[in-house]
Amino acid sequence: MKLPETIRAAFVIARRDFAATVFSKTFLLFLLGPLFPIGLGFIFGGIGAQVEKTANPPAIAVVSSKADFELLEAARRRFLPLGDDRPLVQLGRVDPEPDAAAQRLRLMTSAEEPILGVLEGGLANPHFTGAVTADGRTVRQVNLFVEEARRIKAEFPVPSLPIEVTLTRTSSGSVAFARNLTARAGQTILFVLTILLAGMLLSQLIEEKSNKVIEVLAAAVPVDSIFLGKLFAMLAMSLVGITVWTSAGAAAIAIYAKGGLAALPPPAVGWPAFLLFILLYFSMSYLLIGATFLGIGAQASTVREVQTLSMPVTMSQVILFGVASLGVGKPNGAEAIGAAIFPLTSPFAMVARAAEQEALWPHLVAFAWQVLWVALILKFAAAIFRRSVLKSGPARRWPWQRRKLA
């Protein structure tokens, strides 16, 4: 059968599969599924931020004279600019009582004013008691406050002169860092999408096998067309999903991230080309890994067998992602080039390259290389299916078997 006829037949199969999937009730769940964690993330993130805003920062009780406490407070104020993400511990003064031990115990167990610990002994002989880690954040802050308070008391405070700042758009370090980040983000997106969507191809022929439709299909079109059609139907279905999820993601970024995409580190090839590459490399990754899964899944005759295959297949994807990520940050290194050449990791490696290097010609070569491998894997998978499932063709024999037969 000629190539145009193979493609025409694949289109017939793809159209049926696409319609059967997209127009099913479960497809809505498929579309909404990935939006649940995003939505929940935003809801709980918002709640968490609200809780953090409204909750009082941790406090310690300072049993000291008023003078010592004012020095400690002054020291604390100096460090306030460092407490952007998490506020510094708060200090509360308490007058010393005759029974220090009883006072400490009362402060530590007070339900009305909960505290992390008690600082006693003034600046001369400070001693901290509290339910904290010995070298943890609270103790380190208290140490800094005490040291700074002593410096202030000794009248050798470091003058707080603001540094003059000159801003530039980029520096070599910031560009490399940003591109590295984008490369990893691109690879991660590709990996997550592929792992979410390509696994479905494992079970693609189970329906046809269990309904005996495979016989009707195999009598009318080449097995290559069946595989190709199924692969493209699932790719098209995945792209519908990605369009929905990307739109939701873009809306979320527009709402929650200041400046939208512009706020993210720019890739080497620029955002429009990079987004296009993500889409294209996702398609290639889907076709390459999907063709392999389709071939493996076609050997299974029951849903149980497919389920058993799911775990090793997912693990293999994780390994592929791991191998491809080795080359991030070193686009001309052996790891990156090796990953770009190995067909199944090539899309991951090339999307990272798009983030890190401006050159476009390697992408043309990579696409041609990946398309070739999709065709080869499909051809091989179809041949294996014909031989092992349809039991087609002359039996393959090892040399010693041939000798025995002779």
Binding site: M1, R8, V213, A220, L390, K391, P394
Partner: protein
């Protein structure tokens, strides 16, 4: 066969499955416009032969051509196939399923949908059009699949055990459909283990037993392998007339049965009358395909198909 073109041809087809020979050198010639039956008990290799001829599987050795093409799938657009194990997508509406089967074989989907409605309407089943296959009975689904087999107006139709699972009424309808297709010039090949269908429909038969082709030719040729059977009842128990009947003649329930001698009926009649047989009844029965099948494929094959030899039946 005269000058008729060949629609399908198989030469020495062999198929091994996991070292076991399922088909062993089957040859078959199907003239264009004919109805050809492939007869044989279950497991004889009929389905495997059809699958090889259609290109679903490749033979271990041997050659086949389908509508003049060495690679059967190249002729797919002109072939319709109803497999033994019917296969349809359960969620697909019936008309869509018919159109899809046509689309697989090159018929544009819009045209397929139009023809599907037309075919359903012709048969009074227009209410099936939007019903998903899963809501149809087995017989209804089989009809849908059969319509899907002919939707693209093929030149050759291959039906594997098409009568299996159909009630008498639907079997009759299917026989008529096969006759109509043949009348329209379509070549029909069907496999069956029910000889009666082949006898009523077929111009040619191929008999397959244990993977081997034991006969291939016209139905009359198969019948011609047997001599007509004489059924004779006489008033006289014995006498000179006994010399006129062969030694191998058997008496079953007061009736003599024997093959008509090569000299023909007239000398036999004369000898019986002259010998004082006192003929009560005498009939000459032309052998049916059933008898020919037993003679050709053997009693074991006949029993495997659920057909006991005539004598055993009588006994």
């Amino acid at each position: 066969m005269g000058e008729r073109a060949i629609a399908a041809e198989a030469r020495d087809l062999v198929k091994d499955f996991d070292g076991k020979r399922a088909v062993d050198g089957v040859s078959l010639t199907v003239p264009e416009g004919s109805i050809t039956g492939i007869l044989g008990p279950n497991g004889a290799g009929k389905t495997t032969c059809l699958r090889m001829m259609l290109g679903i599987i490749d033979p271990t050795s041997g050659n086949r051509t389908l509508l003049g093409r060495d690679r059967p799938l190249d002729a797919a657009r002109e072939v319709g196939y109803l497999p033994e194990e019917r296969g349809l997508y359960p969620a697909m509406p019936s008309a869509e399923a018919i159109a899809f089967m046509g689309a697989l074989r090159g018929l544009p989907i819009a045209e397929g949908r139009r023809r599907a409605l037309e075919l359903l309407k012709e048969r009074g089943h227009e209410d099936w059009a939007k019903r998903p296959i899963r809501t149809l009975s087995k017989g209804m689904a089989q009809t849908v699949q059969l319509l899907g087999t002919i939707i693209h107006r093929p030149r050759l139709i291959v039906l594997d055990e098409p009568f299996a699972g159909l009630d008498a009424l639907n079997q009759e309808k299917l026989e008529q459909l096969i006759r109509d297709q043949a009348a329209a010039g379509v070549t029909v090949i069907f496999s069956t283990h029910v000889i009666a269908h082949a006898e009523r429909l077929c111009e040619r038969v191929a008999i397959i037993a244990e993977g081997k082709s034991v006969f291939e030719g016209a139905v009359d040729e198969a019948r011609g392998r047997l001599r007509p059977i004489v059924h004779l009842r006489t008033r006289a128990e014995d006498g000179p007339w006994r010399a006129a009947i062969p030694d191998a003649a058997k008496k079953v329930g007061g009736e003599w049965r024997f093959e008509l001698p090569g000299t023909g009926p007239e000398p036999l009649l004369k000898a019986l009358i002259d010998g004082g047989a006192g003929i009560e009844t005498l009939s000459i029965e032309r052998p049916g395909l059933h008898d020919a099948f037993i003679a050709i494929a053997g009693e074991a094959a006949a029993r495997a198909m659920g057909h006991a030899p005539a004598e055993a039946e009588a006994a």
